[in-house]
Amino acid sequence: MTQILSAIATHSLALVVYPGLVTIVAFGLVAEIAWTRVRHGAWVLPARERPSVVVATVALFSMLVAVQLAAPFNPLPSAERNVIVAAIVLAFTLWAELALSVDFVPAPGLLLVIQFCWLLAVLGPAVQPESLRPQVLGNVLVSSLLPVKIASGFLYLLCLPALLRLWPLTQPSDRRLRPRLDTVRALCWLPYCGLFTTLFFPPSADDALGVLRFFAITLAVALLCLVAGMLLVRRGAVAARGLYRRAVAPYAVVVLAVVVITSFLLR
Amino acid sequence: MTEVAAFAAWLGAAVIVLSDGRRGLALGLAVTTLAFAVLVWLGGEQLAAVALLLAGGVACFKRLRTGPDVWGVMPSGSTARLVLSIGGGLLSLWIATSVMTGPGAPVRFAALSVLALMTARVLGQAERAAVLTALVALALSVAMSAGIADTSPGPAPYIAAALLAVGISVLRVAETNAA
């Protein structure tokens, strides 16, 4: 009983503090403020308002994803982390708005296709190793599996700007003069970027340097997303649609082929 | 003697096929019955022969009292029936003598030819009197076909057929029926 209670306490700590809610909010605010600065040219701070059901839901899901990350000092034991939980729960966050608000999701069909591609990038590398532990997948450095890992990683990065809604396809409610901080997106920065670090980089050690390494890589990924987002914004909505329809989706098919061929070869 | 009787049986059956009047039908039935009785008597079944004779007699008597009061043998348009009688007879003769082997060819011929011709008579659109006459002969020929076996079936089938023949001949067919 004591064991259960202590486990519940540890997991609660992970969910709420590190790498859970508090960390998510801290990382997310930094990334989101940076994005609004480069996007709208103004520093926008979060407004003090009662969180909506959408925000609550996304926060809840992001917490669950965050504890699946291979962040150093993560109280959740590595054996208890699961990439499917991370992938599926993160997928839920994308549709929370469609479900719980009156707003329409822009280009939902295309977003769904991109989410398929992202899902392939997350789960594809797990097919051959037959493991679902995120840090195990990150640790895979077998030369025969590297093509899958690299291809999937690149696909992941390609999908990220769209999944974080950094592209110029915006919903009507966003077309307002006064720029605002997107709380929902803020809550998604760490889960998305941290998951990339977890899956495609060897896990960091449980020490200060490890923490620094993990967050440095994650921040770099976020930065990459900002740059990519800006490029997309500059090129406009049509170009963004074209890129994802004509480049990313066919590339995902290639990645799938690589996954299948690798599985066959290594069987 | 058996050969003559067998031929007579076929002849009687042919007359039944070719006749529409009560006299012709009765004559055909009488000849067939007599021939059957002779064949059975010679086969050593005296009781059965008597039974057949009595049944045939009753049937002929009843036939002479109902139906159109003419001979009606080979009325116009009965060429097909004539061909049937001769063809059926020849086919039966071939089967009874060439296809089937062993003793008792006359009995086989008599039974098969009458059986075939009477069936054809019933299946064709016939008057009620002709159908009833054919049925009597058919019943008797079924009993005769039982005699084809190497071992004698005993008098039972003949007596049963005789009783049936009497039953058919005394039967009153409902008048409301079409012919």
């Binding site: 519940i8 540890t10 609550a56 054996a79 699961n82 769904l112 037959e130 | -």
Partner: protein, 523 residues
């Protein structure tokens, strides 16, 4: 409550009680043999962990629906007998008795649906009859080839690929597990949902039961691993098909019709993978389906918290029971090796489409309403909430409900589940459901308490996408349905003339047939 309804409800709850009283004290197989019935099957009843699990899956929703929903005495009687027949199908010791009982349950379900509304959609009787006849044939082949069709005694060598294919076809037809819109989806478009709920409760689990028992007959395996893979892919198609239809639904009722087939698809994936983890997860998914089967007919069509909770529970929102079971089921595909993980990826993709459909459905117009007298919003809400908050109890549900059944049918297969009450221990990972999900549920309650209400209005939403070629397929189907013999050929094929020729009693025709017969025999 009418006395009839009370009686039928009490009887079903009595059956649940009897099941617990019989099973829980011993928790091992109990058999009752009452001699041969005369058509090759003996009256052998067998209550083992598998039968117990499926009996609960059938009885719980049936009991809830029979207790609450109003029915005429004919409907109530037919429904109760149908539940009995369905129970006999899962407690039968052999295939032939299962076929007889399952066939009876199918007949009674069809009759019950027709009593309620003869013009409303119902499962095609022919398909159901074909399913149980196919199973009978499979049983007959097993008896001829293996000497017996008793589940526990069938020789492994007797379950050949053709026999398994027959059995699988029977299972798929019995539960309507097709990628296209099967009967389990069509039933929900009926004006009343009292008979529909009972039909799904009594018939839908039976197909899965056959697939699970097939493992027992094959000593924990299907005759060929490829068969399991094919079935798992079919499961993906079933789930994906349901999700695609759901995301293009025009009303919420239409969406809810696709909930059970969708869940069934995921259960089929997990069961067909064939690992202990997959089987256990599949059984838990079926338990979720059972609760949803009780919930959906009681749900009013109007929007509200009940509807929201039901949709959330059905789509597998974390940290619900459906979520946990699906995660474990998909994990099983990766852990099964041999690039079965691709099935897992496809399954996850289907789940994502289902998420979109669910998110979209919350704001859809209600659609055709079923009588308020047969809806119980509070009960529906409680049942849905139960699925959502039962996530932390996943290890308990697995240990008490699924693991015994799994170890009954696949005792020899490696990679069994660890029996922990805190976490679901699989081959490579363990899902700390109790210690991770329980705090999450608590945090969720707090956060939703703090958060403001949500403003979703019922308005029509365009479908996210249409399946390529769906229109062409529809046109093809309509063309096939409306196909008639060209007029110039109608004079050649004249059924009436044919009937007249055959039934005219013409002696010449008879003699010709006789000659033909004689010729055929003497050739």
């Amino acid at each position: 409550m009418k006395p009839g309804r009370g009686l039928v409800g009490a009887g079903t709850w009595g059956a649940v009680l009897a099941l617990f009283v019989l099973w829980l004290p011993v928790r091992s197989t109990q058999e009752l043999t009452l001699g041969p019935l005369g058509f090759g099957a003996a009256f052998d009843l067998r209550l083992d962990a598998v039968a117990f699990a499926f009996a609960l899956v059938i009885l719980i929703p049936s009991a809830v629906l029979l207790t609450l929903q109003p029915r005429s005495w004919q409907e109530g009687t037919v429904a109760a007998v149908g539940v009995g027949a369905s129970m006999l199908a899962v407690e039968a010791g052999g295939i032939l008795l299962t076929a007889l009982a399952g066939g009876t349950a199918a007949t009674l379900a069809v009759i019950q649906l027709d009593i309620e509304d003869i013009r409303a959609p119902r499962p095609p009787w022919g398909v159901l009859l074909a399913a149980w006849l196919a199973l009978s044939w499979a049983g007959a082949i097993l008896q001829v080839a293996g000497g017996t069709a008793v589940y526990a005694a069938v020789p492994v060598s007797a379950l050949t690929v053709p026999v398994f294919l027959l059995l699988a076809a029977a299972a798929l037809m019995a539960s309507g597990l097709f990628p296209w819109r099967g009967w389990a989806a069509q039933l929900w478009s009926r004006p009343s949902l009292s008979a529909a709920g009972m039909a799904v409760a009594t018939l839908y689990p039976l197909g899965f039961y056959l697939l699970v028992r097939a493992y027992e007959m094959g000593d924990g395996r299907y005759p060929q691993p490829l068969l399991g893979v094919a079935l798992a892919w079919l499961g993906v198609l079933v789930a994906f098909g349901a999700a695609v239809r759901a995301q293009s639904a025009t009303t919420r009722r239409e969406y809810l019709g696709e909930v059970i087939p969708g869940c069934g698809g995921f259960a089929l994936i997990a069961i067909a993978v064939g690992t202990p983890v997959g089987l256990a997860a599949g059984l838990v998914m079926l338990a979720t389906v059972a609760v949803l089967t009780a919930c959906l007919p009681l749900l009013p069509d109007r929007a509200g918290p009940g509807t929201l909770l039901t949709i959330a529970a059905a789509v597998g929102l974390p940290p619900g029971l459906a979520f946990g079971a699906r995660v474990v089921g998909l994990a099983a595909t990766f852990e099964a090796g041999d690039f079965l993980g691709l099935i897992g990826i496809a399954g996850a993709a289907a789940w994502v489409v289902a998420m979109v459909a669910a998110a979209r459905a919350i704001g859809l117009p209600a659609g055709r309403g079923h009588p308020a007298s047969e809806t119980f919003p509070r009960v529906a809400m409680v049942l849905a909430a139960l699925i959502l908050v039962a996530g932390p109890a996943l290890p308990v549900v697995m240990s008490a409900f699924a693991n015994p059944a799994q170890s009954e049918i696949t005792p020899a297969v490696p990679g069994s589940l660890g029996s922990s009450l805190i976490a679901v221990v699989t081959v490579q990972t363990n899902l700390p459901a109790l210690t991770l999900f329980a705090p999450l549920v608590l945090l969720g309650a707090i956060m939703y308490g703090i958060a403001g209400g949500f403003g979703v209005r019922g308005h029509s939403r365009p479908p996210l996408f249409t399946m390529p070629g769906a229109l062409a397929l529809g046109r093809l189907r309509d063309a096939a349905r409306s196909a008639t013999l060209p007029e110039q050929y109608q004079s050649i094929i004249n059924p009436r003339a044919l009937e007249k020729a055959a039934a005219g009693g013409r002696p010449f025709f008879w003699i010709a047939i006789l000659v033909a017969l004689a010729y055929a025999v003497n050739r």
